[in-house]
Symmetry: D2
Subunit: 295 residues, 4 copies
């Protein structure tokens, strides 16, 4: 990322310079920033973003369609051919959508083809708010929507994409919320104390495989020093937390048979709110446990 | 199984016929049944088994060793060569130990070789009380035991093996307990009612893979019509129950996001008591659950 | 209770004898049994009861009103004066409604007066399905109902009262369900075992006091040898179970501070289904517990 | 409270002025502060307190006894006669020990008499760390201790009393921890959200009665705006939290019978660590709940 602009600076630029400065937020659509320029000064980054989205929503249908059509296909030929803006490259790359296997590439090609034929613009989704599996699920689900509903969904996704881009580019007050948080807490209800030193692994669970996201150990308060995920949107999708509770209870001297009734406790859960806080605690004895979405 | 004898019949046979009738309970060791014959009549099958085990435990060390040495290797050359009694063939076959991959065969061969060199008799374990993974874990663990401790463990396993064989062969009062039970119960704590129609899958979890053991659906009482496992020993090892709780709550009309917080709830647990009752219930809402070893 | 009749005997009686035999089921209303007599034989007690209730429901309004007016006031002057049938005496006596304090007597008198003025018949409720507090709550709630709704409610209560009387009087197949069940189960989730020897007390909780209903101790399975309440309707109302879990954990040697975090665990719950099964278990460690309506 | 001294000021005073300034921390025992004066400067208030306690612990037995004997009786004649220091008056008054009923006065007199006869000094306890019931329990328990154990316990209580007095009097770094915290959190596990607007009542539970300590309502995060108890020691003893969960679920539109299964949920628990943090959350549906000592 290059050095960020401040909202004050943006408020003080000429209209032309303002539009140039924000040119890669709404790709290939300088008219969006131009429309927003006249409403300056903006008190918050959220207000700036909303003004630009309002420009998109109130544009003539032809301009909207041209704008949507300016987006690259997901994981498709265009992506492989490198014909994307730097932002799109980075975003798709974060999920490995630029490194698809041949089978995956075929699947995306088929979905892309059917989608474009039905709706007249490419499938647009804010990839930074989704796991790879969730994107494919959404692709299939949205391909079945009525055209007007899908058009509205595509504009919403534009909102998510550009909000993230704007927050990354502009410094200032009133930034819209773009990050979520996943946290945990392990309580040993035999001792009535936080369980310290419990190994915790977080996996992203896909249809056919699961990938380690992070691995850590609980501290004296039974929590992790840093959130399991934080400072970015949570990717919608399915996750599994694993807690090495068998090791913990052996270490503090609680007798257990071999194999223990509880050795590794898996908690599998779905995330549907990328900007939400998911607190997923574990209350455990060697013979029982409970979990819930907390706060 | 051929038709079973009754305990009464056994009590009435000549000593020779008695020993012949039980010849395949303690393999290649007719002296065990012969020693027990003199103590007839037995009031219970458990007493008969105990008398035979007592004969083994009080035999001279040389006879004990010869008896242990009469057992086939596990998953090894002898097994492949078919040099086992019919009982051993059936028992090893129940775990697929007669159909090992080449890599597995190598591993068993190495363990068998080291074990025999250290203890002077083959590794004996009651395979019907273990999962395949648990057998390998036990093989490695027991290979490290002091010789006297391992000798005692081998005799205990003989007790488990012959108890199962005796109960299969003889009908009568006072049969020793040889079967365990695994059951579940799903409670919907949003409604305060049993959760009916929940799909339940039970897997055996190995180091590298998991295998479906059974698949069923909860009835009106939130239970399964038959135990998940029953009428046989539970195999020591690690298991996972999966409950399709997301489908259940959608079906009864409880709103949930997509993906749901809880879609498939996995409960992973270890079984260490083959003749025990493991009741593993699930108390669930769309946002929380609890489990415990119940009774 | 005098010796019971069988359904077969009732089916075989003359119409007159049949009506006489059931004369104290529907008090002062021989026409109810007379109407049912013609539909004999009845295959089940439930069918017999339903036929008599159908006679009540299809009678002319005047007859219905006369029948309702034949019932004694609850806890009132009539009751004190002894002008009730033996059945009514026994039923009201079971709640102590024949031994009211002066303040309670005044309250019932006031409610009785207002109710009779509004609806034209005395307040009727099946006292054996209610706690004393619940009766007062119902008396106040129903005094506000629209007349038609309250008329229907009174007939429903007649159904509950006569069902209990009929089941007490007649032996035979297909008896309608008139009893509920309250049970518990204590699980020690530190040990993964039923908690044996836990003292359990059940209280009925009123607005101003609570009364001990029963006191018992859990058996080896963590249950009570007999249901806490069974073989009769559960009385609608509020209850509290108390479990002496502090004593239990000290006895099995689990360390605890003084005072223990959990000494007596109270579970307070309401019963709204007199013929239902309420299973109210306790899952406990010295530092945590959970309960739920189970099955 | 008069204006507080700073630790710096105390470090700079003459020895005499220092002892005078702290004269009412260790009642009638100026030698304690005098002994500590020579060890100045103190970097922390905790170090100052420890130096004074060390002076007490290393004093000759006669001086220790004279010091213990200088303390007023609890709730006794001396207290009634007004012969206490202002600090003792305030501390005993906080529990109403200066306003005993005649029966209570008799009981304290009997305990005081027996205790003094056995140990030769009055019963000393830090009343601000105890409920009234807990004091009586401790009085009876400690009256049975061997004299040496009880002598040590009395000195520990002196430590608790003087620590609180010193922290109230002196401002500065490194104050020893003297306050505890009781907090709660209500989670609605039907919705997977904090339960807002739940009425919460906290009672102190005595042998014969219970007294309302505080009453509040949960905020949007399911917590209370302020801790239920904070900024002071928690009084050892038994408490009950009551949550009006029935009202909550009706308000958010969850159907329930009348009476609801859960209307008021009581959680009864003991506090044994006056300077600890007791977090006592409630996870509830209309049909189930769980609690635990959290962190």
């Amino acid at each position: 990322m290059t050095s960020r602009l401040t909202l004050d600076e943006l408020n003080g630029l000429s209209g032309e310079a303002f539009a140039a400065a924000l040119s890669d937020v709404f790709e290939h659509a300088p008219w969006v920033a131009e429309a927003a320029a006249g409403q300056r000064p903006f008190a918050t980054i959220a207000a700036l973003h909303e003004a630009m989205m309002q420009a998109v929503r109130s544009a003539p249908r032809e301009a909207q369609l041209a704008f949507l059509r300016g987006h690259p296909e997901l994981g498709g030929k265009v992506a492989r051919a490198g014909a994307m803006t730097a932002e799109s490259v980075a975003e798709q790359g974060s999920l490995g959508l630029d490194r698809l296997s041949d089978a995956e590439f075929e699947r995306f090609e088929a979905l892309n083809g059917a989608y474009a034929a039905r709706f007249g613009f490419p499938f647009i989704i804010c990839v930074r708010r989704q796991t790879r599996d969730a994107i494919l699920n959404e692709f299939e689900r949205r391909s079945q929507l009525p055209p007007e509903a899908e058009f509205a969904t595509a504009l919403q996704e534009i909102g998510h994409i550009t909000r993230l881009r704007l927050v990354a580019k502009v410094d200032g007050p009133g930034a819209p919320k773009t990050d979520g948080r996943l946290s945990t807490h392990v309580l040993d209800t035999v001792s009535g104390k936080p369980a310290a030193g419990v190994q915790v692994r977080l996996y992203e669970v896909g249809a056919s495989a699961r990938a380690l996201v992070t691995e850590t150990v609980t501290n004296q308060d039974g929590r992790t020093d840093r959130p399991l995920i934080g400072g970015q949107p949570l990717r919608c999708g399915t996750y599994e937390l694993e807690f090495a509770i068998g090791d913990y209870f052996r270490r503090i001297g609680v007798a257990a048979p071999a194999p223990a009734f509880l050795e590794i406790v898996p908690l599998r859960f779905g995330i549907a709110e990328p900007e939400g806080h998911y607190h997923v605690p574990l209350l455990a004895t060697p013979w029982s446990y409970a979990t819930y979405r907390g706060s």
